[in-house]
Symmetry: C2
Subunit: 331 residues, 2 copies
């Protein structure tokens, strides 16, 4: 069995390019006792992976040069020496960026028996959806009376966050980077959408969209977005820091918002989180999300690239705003 | 009865100066039924007052041009038509920046029967001490195993915060702006003191002072201090934002720290607070602080200017680092 894999071959400064990656074909060895062969059917590309391209200590180890990268994927067991995962079993795994791999089963999770397309388990009902749900419900302690601002509202996490906040009864404002994305976000029922590329003064646009101020900011972007959110936040507002994509490809450190003192005077709370810390909440999350999906109350937004040959292009596209909803690679 | 008062006569941009203030003598009217005449004996000058010189909406109304300012003070009732506050009663009040005033009693609080100098009720066992205590125990949820970094450690709030954190069993690191202040902070039992003016790279100095990282940052300064703290914080660290004095006199907005993304990757919590929200905790605070003071476990650090003629000088001195501990004006 052959496996096509994407290796990291050099560390980017600033925006990564195809030159940082290499597509390699390897031959997998024969299965040992207890092992299974998994063929991945879908893989995820995520903004956080940009940070793993930097060689530094963080909450997750950096990718190693000359080695295959990893990340979320779903696949099917095609050969099995492990009764827990028979041939045909559909599994989620963290061995993305490759078409096939051998596992002893420890890093595999059987997909729940829910009538949903497999790739949803990488997105709306996978880590992406859990991230949105944790940020709103556990970090920001969402209440129905809150006005919620979601940056990158058309993104993988943002699009789910918007929908969850609407289902909680909140007034929701989203920011996006194109009119096409604005249409998509409006169609999800979001109350006001700002195209930050054409809005001019973002603080002013946000103030107009939320004349009574915002109570919760779901932070995906950083920079000017954070500055605007701080300016428009109400007293005791909560900021759930999911990521700051504006910083990821910066050549040099980007200055933070000039109005951080508002955290003091408005008595704000700004809290960062990493979804890994909340894996024990997955079942509780699925308990809410599965019915929402079944009833059509939440829709999965997806952008799909086909073939591992296009995985790098899909990944790079994240930083050019090429995705609407979850960016996926079909293998 | 005459009262000398400090009026705000113009709004500063950047560093305030004597020209923004005026000393005015007024004659107080005769007492009405229910009223008392209070002669202030001590008044407080505090960094937060700089923000009240700006005409904008905030948690506390701005000072009005051409009118007397206000702030914390303690005084003595010298004439009384109110049995609740007989002549000789010692009262704390928020009618500082003046030598005497008339009150109906609603804004007066009798000083507790504790054997402490009156001015301590403006400092270590007043709002200043409560601020330090709330920031550490309510906002940062201090634990004995924490390593705590206090900026402006020789300041009014900072010097109390350092001592409370030591009494909780924490390892404490303080930053100060002179070697003389460093000596004072060391004498309080703080484990490591950084003179940020001579330390060179603050992040490096902080890392050396806290080789195992910091868990709690008590933020009084902002700017470079916050950037260094973020860099050296441990996962799940907590930042209690009491103030950012570095920003108060800035002519133009100062950029925030370039490493705010660490709030996400280190899963930090940064929370602002204003002591007013915790007045209901004052008794609980006194219950801890009064015995500490009585037993000599906490010492009050004070810098005293004499006479209302020097109140503006005392206030301006706050921004030049002229105070060790609480800055007070004896009237």
């Amino acid at each position: 069995m052959k496996s096509k894999q994407i290796h990291l071959v050099s560390r980017p400064t600033g925006v990564p390019s195809q030159a940082n990656f290499n597509l390699v074909e390897v031959t997998l060895p024969d299965l040992q006792a207890g092992q299974v062969l998994v063929k991945n059917t879908w893989m995820s590309v995520d903004p956080y992976m940009r940070n793993r391209m930097i060689d530094r200590e963080s909450y997750i180890p950096p990718f190693q040069l000359g080695e295959v990268m990893d990340g979320g994927a779903v696949g099917e067991v095609v050969e099995s020496n492990n009764p827990q995962f028979p041939v045909g079993a559909r599994v989620s795994n963290i061995s993305g960026w490759r078409t096939a791999f051998i596992s002893n089963g420890e890093d595999l999770t059987q997909l729940p028996e829910v009538d949903l397309p497999d790739q949803h388990f990488l997105g709306v009902i996978g880590m992406t959806g859990l991230t949105a749900w944790v940020g709103l419900t556990k970090i920001a302690q969402l209440k129905p009376t809150d006005t919620v601002f979601v940056s990158a509202a058309s993104g993988a996490v943002g699009s789910v966050a918007c929908q969850i906040a609407k289902l909680y009864g909140c007034r929701v404002i989203g920011s996006v980077g194109s009119d096409e994305k604005a249409e998509m976000v409006k169609a999800m029922g979001v109350d006001a959408v700002i195209n930050y590329k054409t809005a001019g003064n973002l603080t002013q646009a946000l103030r107009e969209a939320a004349p009574e101020g915002i109570d919760v900011y779901f932070e995906n972007v950083g920079g000017e977005h954070l500055e605007a959110a701080l300016e428009v936040m109400n007293d005791y507002g909560r900021i759930a820091v999911c990521g700051m994509i504006a910083d990821y490809n910066a050549d040099s450190p980007q200055p933070g918002p000039a109005n951080l003192l508002l955290i003091n005077t408005k008595k704000l709370t700004m809290q960062g989180f990493i979804v890994m810390d909340y894996f024990d909440q997955y079942e509780a999350f699925v308990g809410q999300m599965a019915p929402w999906l079944a009833e059509g109350k939440v829709k999965s937004e997806e952008t799909v690239y086909e073939g591992i040959e296009h995985a790098v292009e899909a990944f790079l596209g994240l930083f050019e705003g090429r995705n609407k909803g979850k960016m996926l690679v079909k293998l």
